[in-house]
Each structure stands twice: as structure tokens, then as C-alpha cells.
Symmetry: none
Subunit: 413 residues, 2 copies
């Protein structure tokens, strides 16, 4: 069963709003076991919309549209759908009544134009709208189905979950069950990760396997299994996961939507350790990420953003001689930041981060993207050197993720 989603609306074509309907429908339909293989966006233009729907009907069994169901002259989706199926339009009295009632409840007079929303192609199934005036429409013909849904996300989502999903399940049931599991990895590039598991990628059928790059250098591996029932799908996933963990287990920091900040927080909590940070080039971003996690106040004491060298000296305890001799961007300074913040804040773990985020500030031997990180804690101090490339905010972000991953590894060792 092949599905195509057609989103309509000139504001989408102009790039003025994000298309949230297509990913919403795609996710829900995929979970139900339907294959959404095309998504198309077209404006409120009769000829072009007809062409898009015609193409969709040729290559898909079910076409779901969103938008163009309003009361204005530009709202043409139902008309275009009806004419493709050679159906006349008629006034659907129950819908007209619903629209009138809605206006009465809002204590407003119904504009004449809203009558258009009660016009329905002959032979269509009408779907009530819980949140607005536009009814939805299901039209079947010659083995093909078009479903017209309204554009406002709240109306579309409600209509989909209350009426369309049950209709599809009943009408085309037996698509089986799909179960997904996401493995989150850090510290390995996409291509290196792929090489390690290339056998599984090449021979994938069920479960399937997809790599996705997330901001900050995180790579996720999504396993998706299709089976007649949930236990069978889950078992397929479990088997593949076990095999993958033998190849890339060291890089996997969590599953199913967990963040590095959460993993670090959990590790600190379990070990009853408190942490503090001295951040320079990241400007507080690492600490902010740690505090994105609810309950982080139980393990984060706080941080100093020691942007100016005078603050590194006065508030973190870096020696003036160290800055003079090795520079602010050096492993020596990072180590003193880590040790200094740990001592001053009385935490179990201290982290120091210093680097050149750019675009200025580089020298011949210290390029933009050079970052030193140090961790000082119960098992002594460690320091690390990185050369990131990219623009300022990217280097900050990349550094922030890297630091969280280093803390995780320090704790797990």
C-alpha cells in the first residue's frame, strides 16, 4: 500500500511557514505500517494542483492532502479532487448545520463564503471537524483513495487521529506493526560508523537500519522492524541491536531519545557526585545544556564563565604565569581551570574548557577551532585537545557535546 502526502498552500511554497503536517502524517502513517514514499507541496493553483494529484494517483494507492479547505476562492482542494474523479459537488446539509452552529456559538454571523465549506463531492465520506469549520473528505474510486484534510495542524491532527486512522485501519488493515528503536552514538564520524556496520547496512531488509546526523556531532542509528505483531517486531529489533552493540557499543551512550546531558546527569546522580565547570570559549553553553535536564540542581553546583583572563585569575585561580607562559588556550590553562573551579566550588568534579571559537583570535600556532578540555576529579585529572572547524556557534556547539561525552566517559571508566 503506497501513500503520498500532498500539502497545499502558497505560504508553504513561499517558505513562510514550516510544513508540520507532512511530518505529522508521515510519522503516524509509518507507525501504522503504511509506506509513505512521496510528499509533494503545491500552491493554490487549479491546474498545478490537478497535475500534482494526478501524478500522485498514478504512483500511490492512497493520497492524503492538507490545506485548501477554507471558505475563500483560493481554497480549491475539494473541487480539484472532485473533478479528477468526475464527481459533482453538492451542499452537505449536516456539515452546513455544523458550521452554522459553530458561528452561533461564537456569537457571530456566518459569512456567506463559509457555505463553500459544506460543499462535498458526490459519494464522498464526510469527516467532522472538531476544531474548525472545514469538514474532511474521503473519496474512493477505482482502487484509489483521496483524503482531503484541512490545513490548520490542530484540525488536521484531531481529524486524523479520530477518524482517518481508524478508517485506514479498518479499510486497509493488516499492514502489521512497526517498532523502532534509536541508538544514540557520539565520538565517531558518520562514515566511520557506517564502515563498522556496513555488512548490516548492505543486507538490511527487516529490520531496516538508518544513520542520521544530529547537531553537535551526534549520530543516531534507527532500527525499524515490521512484523505481524509487536512482540515479533520487538524480538527482531533486540537481535539486531545485540549484534550492532558488538561492533559499535563503545560509542552508544543511550537509546530512544535520551540526551547526552541526561546520561551525564544520571551518572553523576548514581555516583552521588557534584560537578562545576569553568567555561571560556563555550561561554556557558555546556552548563546550560546540563541545566536543560530537570533535577540537574542535585548534581550541578554551578559554573564560572571566565571569558576575560582577569576572571580566569581572580575567580577560578589560574596562575598569571600560566597564562603568560602558555597562553589562555593551552592544556595547562585548561587543567588549572578544572582544578581551580573544583577547589573553589568544592565540587567532586571540575571541568575546564578553553579554546578559540573564532572568527578572530587565532595565531599561527593556535588556529580557530583549537579547544582544550580538562577534567579534574576523584581519579585524577585528564586533558584533551581538539581541532574543530566551522563557524563560531558550530564550534561552541560541537565543543559542548564533546565535553558532555568526555564527562560521561570519565565517569564510566
Amino acid at each position: 500500500m503506497i501513500l503520498e502526502i500532498v500539502t497545499t498552500g502558497t505560504e508553504l511554497l513561499l517558505g513562510q511557514i514550516f510544513n508540520t503536517n507532512a511530518p505529522y502524517l508521515a510519522e503516524k502513517l509509518n507507525e501504522m505500517g503504511f509506506d509513505v514514499v512521496y510528499q509533494t507541496t503545491v500552491g493554490d493553483n487549479r491546474e498545478r494542483m490537478a497535475h500534482v494529484l494526478q501524478t500522485a494517483l498514478e504512483r500511490a494507492d492512497i493520497v492524503i492532502t492538507s490545506g485548501g479547505m477554507g471558505p475563500t476562492q483560493g481554497d480549491i482542494t475539494k473541487e480539484v479532487t472532485a473533478s479528477l474523479f468526475n464527481r459533482a459537488m453538492y451542499v452537505h446539509e449536516p456539515s452546513l448545520e455544523r458550521i452554522r452552529t459553530l458561528f452561533t456559538r461564537r456569537q457571530m454571523a456566518m459569512p456567506q463564503s463559509n457555505e463553500r465549506q459544506a460543499m462535498i463531492p458526490e459519494g464522498a465520506i464526510v469527516v467532522d471537524n472538531d476544531w474548525g469549520t472545514a469538514p474532511g473528505v474521503i473519496l474512493e474510486d477505482g482502487g484509489k483513495t483521496i483524503i482531503n484534510l484541512p490545513g490548520p495542524p490542530r484540525e488536521l491532527e484531531s481529524m486524523f487521529s479520530h477518524a482517518i486512522a481508524p478508517y485506514l485501519a479498518k479499510r486497509y488493515g493488516g499492514q502489521g506493526t512497526i517498532v523502532s528503536r534509536v541508538l544514540h552514538t557520539y565520538g565517531i564520524s558518520e562514515s566511520a560508523l557506517e564502515e563498522r556496520i556496513s555488512d548490516y547496512i548492505t543486507k538490511q531488509t527487516n529490520p531496516t537500519l538508518a544513520l542520521l546526523v544530529r547537531p553537535g556531532g551526534e549520530i543516531i542509528v534507527r532500527l525499524t522492524a515490521k512484523a505481524a505483531d509487536k512482540p515479533s517486531a520487538t524480538a527482531l529489533i533486540a537481535k539486531l541491536e545485540e549484534e550492532l552493540r558488538q561492533q559499535i557499543g563503545e560509542y552508544i551512550f543511550g537509546v530512544d531519545g535520551v540526551s547526552l546531558g541526561e546520561v551525564v546527569g544520571k551518572a553523576l546522580m548514581e555516583r552521588k557526585l557534584k560537578i562545576s565547570l569553568a567555561e571560556s570559549c563555550t561561554g556557558g553553553l555546556v552548563t546550560s545544556r546540563i541545566t536543560d535536564v530537570p533535577g540537574s540542581s542535585s548534581y550541578l553546583l554551578g559554573s564560572v564563565v571566565c571569558y576575560d583572563n582577569s576572571i580566569k585569575i581572580s575567580q577560578v585561580g589560574v596562575a598569571e604565569a600560566t597564562l603568560r607562559e602558555y597562553g589562555a588556550v593551552s592544556y595547562q590553562t585548561a587543567l588549572q581551570m578544572a582544578g581551580g573551579i573544583r577547589h573553589r566550588f568544592g565540587s567532586d568534579l571540575g571541568v575546564g574548557i578553553t579554546g578559540i571559537a573564532g572568527p578572530g583570535g587565532d595565531t599561527s600556532d593556535k588556529p580557530v577551532g583549537l579547544v582544550y578540555v580538562a577534567i579534574d576529579g576523584p581519579r585524577g585529572s585528564e586533558h584533551y585537545k581538539f581541532n574543530f572547524s566551522g563557524e563560531r556557534t558550530y564550534i561552541k556547539e560541537r565543543t559542548a557535546y564533546t565535553v558532555l561525552n568526555l564527562i560521561r566517559k570519565y565517569l564510566e571508566t
Copy 2:
């Protein structure tokens, strides 16, 4: 000149990520006067991608793709494009050299698979990638053009603005001129803003006018004028902007892509003032936003994230009695944080931020979303109270924008 945008990637079809490339490209192309009339999304499937690109070439003059340019076996966009135009692929040595260099700079060995990224269809124009390993490709044939761009937004956007936009302007110029201007506002809701300028919204033709809500509560007003030449379009915009400023001028903090952080930085620099912050509920996010701006080291001394109350006392100088009597989330504490950090860091301006980001931590008289901000500076101290609603990271983000706007207003008064 008809354009179609084709975004590829199974993760898009599964609804796992939002499609930001299509609206980005659509907006930029429309601004250049090109008509983007179709947008299609297809997965990493050879046959279906070929069908989508074939259809696109039939109905559009220029087809721009995003995604499927990576090193993996699932990355097939260039190959499908080449075969539609009957072109062989060859190793483009300069691209291979760029990719090798990138890996060398990262101090990593280049995986064999990355060589695939240097494979180019014969006769194509190769576009360098400033931020990644995948070069872009422009292929012309029989009056039709396909442009393949990489999927990561940062790579695509940089490539588009540096190379593709100039190429399109030179090759297909004369689309008329569209001039846009963006007014950035803060501190007013979308509906209140709309009410203030509703006359202009209702009667808009040329220039047109669109309101867009950005993260953190920023609302932007985009003015777009179309004219035969740039001076005429600019004049239309200037007239409308002047009229709008009479209605909403107090909320406009900048134009054309400027950020609140940049505006604050410029104001501090002009007044030769240094700033420091004591952040609690925002966890360093405000300082991080300030340091997103290049050159911020000239006005930011640094900050203390005083998450734990002991740190508020020891590192910022908040009185124990204040915490006991009024609590950590109080204007009294915010004021002492602002004054304390200013004094300890020796800055001209001190900022204190304390609140309840949730989901826990609320009490009957102090709900989640309650935030106090104080500024201490040359013209004395001010404090402010807010009640935000939403989840933890939203409250942090909303607070961060609000604090930047308060600093701006403190400085401008």
C-alpha cells in the same frame, strides 16, 4: 522560469525530522523573483527518486535537490541525476583533495567511502562545500537545469548563498527585482502586533507584509516589494517601513537578520561598558547567547552560574539572610545577584537572573515560570518580574531573550 525543490531522505519521509531546506530555498528563490511552484520529498530509493526527478524536469525549468550527497551507499542523488541526463560519473580530483584536506585537519584518516563524494557527473559545474565534505553539482542539459545540494542545512545554506544564488542570477537574471526588509521586534505578542498594523495587513499588495513568530518570543515583520529595479523596490519598502515605525517603532530592535545579542553587544561597545552576569535558572544560556557574537570578549568579563544556593552566597555575595527570608526566587535575591556579580567582577553592569524553570521546584506562591531579573549599573538598579509558561527549555529560552531585551532597554534609556 519555473522551479521545483526536491528534498530527499528517508528520515523526511518517516517524519523524523522537520524539512527546513525546502522553506529556506523557497524563501531565498522567491526573493530573487523565481517562482517555486512545486516541492517534492522522496526517499533514498533509486527508482522513486528517478521518477520524481523526471516528473520535476517535465514541469519545471530548474530543479534543486537537497540531500543524498553523503558518503554512504544510500546517498544516490548525484548518480540518479547523472543517469537522467545520460552522463557518466568521474572522480573530480580537486574535490577529492578538499575532502582529504578536511580529514587531515580533523586529524582523522579518510574512510574509503568518502571518495564517493568526489564522484561528479561529466560536464557538471562543481560547487565547493565550505562546511563539509560533499561538493554541490550543477548540471545543465536541453534547457533544463538540476542542482544537487547537500542535506545538512548549514552546508546547503552556505553553498546556496555563496555559489547557487550568484549562478542563478547570472544565468537566468531579469526575473524583476524583489527587495525584502525584516523588522525585528521584541516585547509584544503576535496578535497585539497584528492589531496595531492591521490596516496595513488588510490593504497590502505591494509591498506585502508578513508576521512570523521566531523562537523565544521574537516577532519579525517582513516587508517584500517587487519592482522593475532595485531603487524602485527599495523606495516602496522605505515608505512602508516609515509608516510602520510610527505604529510599532518602540518594539523594533533591529533590521535584516540582526540578533538581540548583537544589538546588546553594539550598545555596550559604543558606551565602552563591561558586563557580567549571575545566572541561576537560565544556567548560563544568556551568557552563551552573548558569546555567540564575535568580539564579545571586548565587553563580557564573564559570569557565574550560581545554581546551588551555596554558590550564590560564596561566589556572588548573596546574603544568607536574603535567601532565608525571601527565597532564592525573589527580586531581593535577583538584586543582590546583580549587585554582587558587578562588584566581584568589577564590571560596569551586573545582571541577576533567578526563577523556576520547572517542571519541579514550584510552591503555592511561586509557580513554574516565575522569573526575576535585576540589572545593576551606572544609572542604578532595576528589577523585573515575569510569569512564563511552557516547558523547561522554553522557559529558559524565553528568559534568555527577555534578559537581552532588558539589557538593551536599560542601555538605551
